[in-house]
């Protein structure tokens, strides 16, 4: 993470970090709407700080911290015990640094899935999320097993390329 990002304008700060921050919040909240609210609130609070003349050297990491604390406060208000205020993935508790780092990759994956053709995405989700066998998917959608297999390998390729391409774009 760069030592300072004050040369990046606020629009770009929003553009490049909004989705990663949402994924980050999602690790804490497991709720899309809430995650978006927390991120939006954090951007607003940061904007107001900057308008008041505050000097934030690394606004991106400041945003991550704002989002985390808003998530934790929300969970606390819901009565979640302090020791359970942790980010989670589908396998269990992860640590906060990990959640921050993953949010970048996961945001790119989200973008790549959005970019899949509709049928391809549907097949992919049925297979990977719902754990359905190729035969079951083929049956349900009236496709051949071969088509299902092709769609899934196409999806995986788009996802790999998507993650890689965006990586090059942001960091090259």
């Amino acid at each position: 993470m760069a030592h300072t990002d004050i040369h990046i304008d606020f629009d770009d700060l929003f553009r490049y970090n909004y989705r990663p921050l949402c994924l980050y919040a999602l690790h804490y909240l497991q709720d899309i709407d809430l995650a978006e609210d927390m991120v939006q609130e954090s951007y607003t609070a940061l904007w107001e700080k900057l308008q008041e003349g505050a000097h934030v050297l690394n606004r991106k990491s400041y945003l991550y911290m704002m989002v985390r604390n808003r998530c934790l406060d929300h969970l606390r208000k819901k009565g979640i015990p302090t020791e359970s205020l942790k980010p989670y993935d589908t396998y269990g508790v992860i640590d906060d640094d990990d959640a921050q780092e993953r949010s970048q990759t996961e945001a790119r994956l989200w973008t790549a899935i959005d970019s899949l053709p509709e049928k391809c995405r549907e097949v992919f989700i049925m297979s990977k999320r719902d754990g359905m066998k190729y035969e079951e998917i083929a049956d349900e959608l009236g496709l051949s097993v071969n088509t299902v297999r092709n769609q899934i390998s196409k999806a995986l390729k788009v996802l790999k390329d998507g993650v890689h391409k965006l990586y090059m774009f942001f960091f090259a």
């Binding site: 899309i32 995650a35 978006e36 934030v56 704002m66 993935d89 990759t105 994956l109 995405r121």
Partner: protein, 265 residues
């Protein structure tokens, strides 16, 4: 990082809903709430940008060629000075410090004095710093080297760093928040039991916190500004970097980040 793993895709798919986390929509919502009209897109005619690109390429080649063997010296005068090296690494030199490298290999540097490095990642080419009687090879990103006269000190805030007497002697590997010193009598650097983050905060004119409980943050600020504080929730953790110039601003930033009230006494 160029690839993803099952744990990433599993998490994303568990929550995935088409078209959600829409950055553009969120930006518009943000801007509308603030009454900011969207900036019109700038139009650049293709031939203009074509010529600009060609000119840039020529200039770049000339620079690369003429710089390739020259020795380059970066010097900080009376104040801290930040530099960006050709490989994208960032260096903050403490007053009176000097960093030297050859134009063709900006990742082999010599340091006199004290500097904070943020090294651009390049696994093929290690970033190296030689100081009189000390050698540091960077396997990661953020750290400070203090090539003092008798004691050399390295403090790592992020990533991994090899610290040794020379490039072929035994050394220690330091990771996040580790600090080691090398005095003239040591063959191998000695790792400090407890590293003090604020040893760099001072040098940089800013405070660096990384998951630091508010209680400790306020203690650090107390030491620096000679005032004491009370806050309503001392267990919350603060991360980030804060300019040391204006205490009121630091306090207001912390309050807003952590959602706490802090009162000076």
């Amino acid at each position: 990082m160029s690839d993803f793993e099952d744990k990433h895709i599993d998490f994303v798919l568990k929550h995935y809903q088409e078209g959600r986390f829409d950055t553009l929509k969120a930006m518009n919502r943000f801007n509308e709430a603030r009454g900011i009209a969207r900036k019109p897109r700038r139009m650049i005619l293709p031939w203009v940008s074509g010529i600009a690109a060609a000119a840039a390429a020529v200039v770049l080649c000339v620079l690369l060629f003429s710089d390739s063997y020259r020795q380059i010296q970066l010097v900080a005068g009376a104040e801290l000075q930040e530099f960006v090296l050709p490989d994208g690494s960032e260096v903050t030199l403490a007053p009176g410090s000097r960093l030297t490298y050859r134009g063709k290999s900006p990742r082999k540097t010599q340091l006199e004095g004290k500097a904070f490095f943020e090294v651009a990642r390049d696994e093929a080419v290690p970033f190296e710093i030689t100081a009189d009687g000390a050698f540091v090879r960077v396997l990661g990103t953020k750290f400070m080297v203090d090539a003092g006269l008798s004691v050399k000190e390295v403090y790592v805030t992020e990533g991994k760093v090899l610290f040794a007497r020379s490039s072929d002697s035994d050394g220690v590997i330091l990771t996040k928040d580790m600090q080691a010193t090398l005095s003239q009598s040591d063959a191998v650097p000695v790792i400090a039991v407890e590293a003090d983050v604020n040893s760099i905060a001072w040098q940089r004119g800013s405070f660096i916190f990384d998951g630091t409980p508010l209680k400790e943050v306020l203690e650090t600020l107390s030491e620096h500004y000679n005032v004491s504080f009370v806050a309503n929730d001392l267990d919350k953790q603060l991360s980030g970097e804060f300019h040391a110039e204006d205490l009121d601003l630091i306090i207001s930033l912390i309050e807003s980040a952590l959602d706490v009230r802090i009162v000076m006494r």
